[in-house]
Each structure stands twice: as C-alpha cells, then as structure tokens.
Amino acid sequence: MPVNFNNAFGIHDDALLLFERRTQLLSENIANADTPNYKARDIDFNQVLQQAQNDSVKLRTTNKGHINLSQQAFSSDVQYREVEQSAADGNTVDTQKEKAAFGENALRYQLSMNILTRKIKGLKTAFRGE
C-alpha cells in the first residue's frame, strides 16, 4: 500500500493554514479595537474548511509558475462581523468576543498540531518496522 502524505495527514494540514490565517485576522481586530471606523473581520471556519474538503477536483500544478488555487480560496472568504452594539466612532470590534475567538483558535491550532505530531510518530514507527 503506497503511503500518501496528503491522506495521512487528513484535514489537519489544510486546517493549520486556516487557523494561521484566522490568527492574523483576529489579531488585527484586537489591535484595531480603538480605531475609529474599523470593521471587525473574520472567516466562517466551518464553511471554508468544508469547501476545502469538498474541493476534491483540484487543478494540477505541474509547473513552478502554476498557482495553488486552494490557498487563494481562503482569502476570498473574509467577512465583516455582524454588529450587535454599535459604537459612536463606527468601530465594530467587541474585544471580549475577539479575545475568546482568538483563544479558541489558538487551542484548535495546538490540537491539530498534536494530532499531526502523533501521526508523524506513527509513520516513523511504520518506517522503522521495529
């Protein structure tokens, strides 16, 4: 049975890219918590990941110049957060919410990281054949 690294890591390598992107977006929201007219942004995680998983028909990149489309898909799904309580200066950042989302995101990132580490461990054991 050939070992396919894409299958071996499951969704976790895709998920890591997404977590990383989301970390950046949420840190922007927190940094801009006091900036007038700044609108908080985020990614709908489930939707984007599902889309990445369903994207089974991928364009082949046979040349160095070809662009991997699955990474571009992440950038187009950035959405503005819905406003629950509007501020007088037009800022829509709810710091508490952003911090909670940031913490959750970091935890999920570590979870994916742990699973990946274990999978690599398993593969190593298989390679050694001990």
Partner: protein
C-alpha cells in the same frame, strides 16, 4: 510565512496604545500648569488612530492586513479657567491666573482603556509566539 505578520499587527497596536498613554500622562501632568495669558494655557492632546490596510501579494492573500497607525495628535480647543489669585507670582494685572480645563476623570478612564488594550495586544503576541514554537517542534519527540 504569514503568521509572522501577527507580530507586526500586535506591535503596531502596542505602539499606538503606548502613544495614547503618553498623551494621557502629558495631560495629567499639565493639569495644574498655570499661565498668565489665557492663550498660553496647555491644551489636552489626544491621538487619532487609523487602520492601515497593507496590500500583500504573495501566498494569494490579497486582502492584506490591517495595522494601526496614529494619524495625528489633536489639541483640544477648550476655554481656559480663570482663577482670581492676586498673590500668585504669575497673576496678570487684574490678579487672574489661567489654568487648563483638563478633565482628569476622563483622562484616567482613557488611561485604563489604553492599558487594557495594550495588555490585549501583548497577550496576542505571546499566544502567537507559543503557537510558532509549537510548530517548530512538529514531528519531534
């Protein structure tokens, strides 16, 4: 690698909040500064923040990241408060000195807000650092 940008973003937020804290310190320190002339009185300063959207071509993330910048520092245009203190060495011919109309309570509230925002950015920074350290250890152990 795009996760390094988190440090840029949080760093810009920290420096903006630090500048805000500096203006608060300046305003509070000068709250009791007295002058002879009505027009020479200290005016409270406040920074105006603005977010800078940066274009970012590589990796296909074209919507860029938003760092914070201090666009300008505005001075309030409030009326000086006259006080009748004829024995004061700085008193004018009519016996008045002028003190700035600084709202100390509002400045204190602003200080706490700036301090909290600064802490939030520091937390973001340390979490991002932890995440990256974990990434470096991927596949080890």
């Amino acid at each position: 690698m795009s996760v390094f940008k988190v440090f840029d973003v949080a760093g810009s937020g920290m420096s903006a909040q630090m500048l805000r804290l500096n203006t608060v310190a300046s305003n509070l320190a000068n709250a009791d500064t007295i002058s002879t002339n009505e027009n020479d009185v200290y005016q409270a300063r406040h920074p105006v923040f603005e977010s800078v959207m940066q274009e970012q071509g590589e990796m296909g993330f074209s919507d860029g990241l938003a760092t914070v910048r201090v666009r300008e520092i505005v001075q309030e245009q409030t009326m000086a408060v006259p006080q009748y203190r004829p024995n004061h060495p700085l008193a004018n011919d009519e016996g008045f000195v002028f003190s700035p109309a600084i709202d100390s309570i509002a400045e204190m509230a602003d200080m706490i807000s700036a301090s909290r925002s600064y802490q939030n950015n520091v937390e973001v920074l340390s979490t991002a650092k932890e995440m990256m350290l974990r990434t470096l250890q991927l596949g080890q152990g």
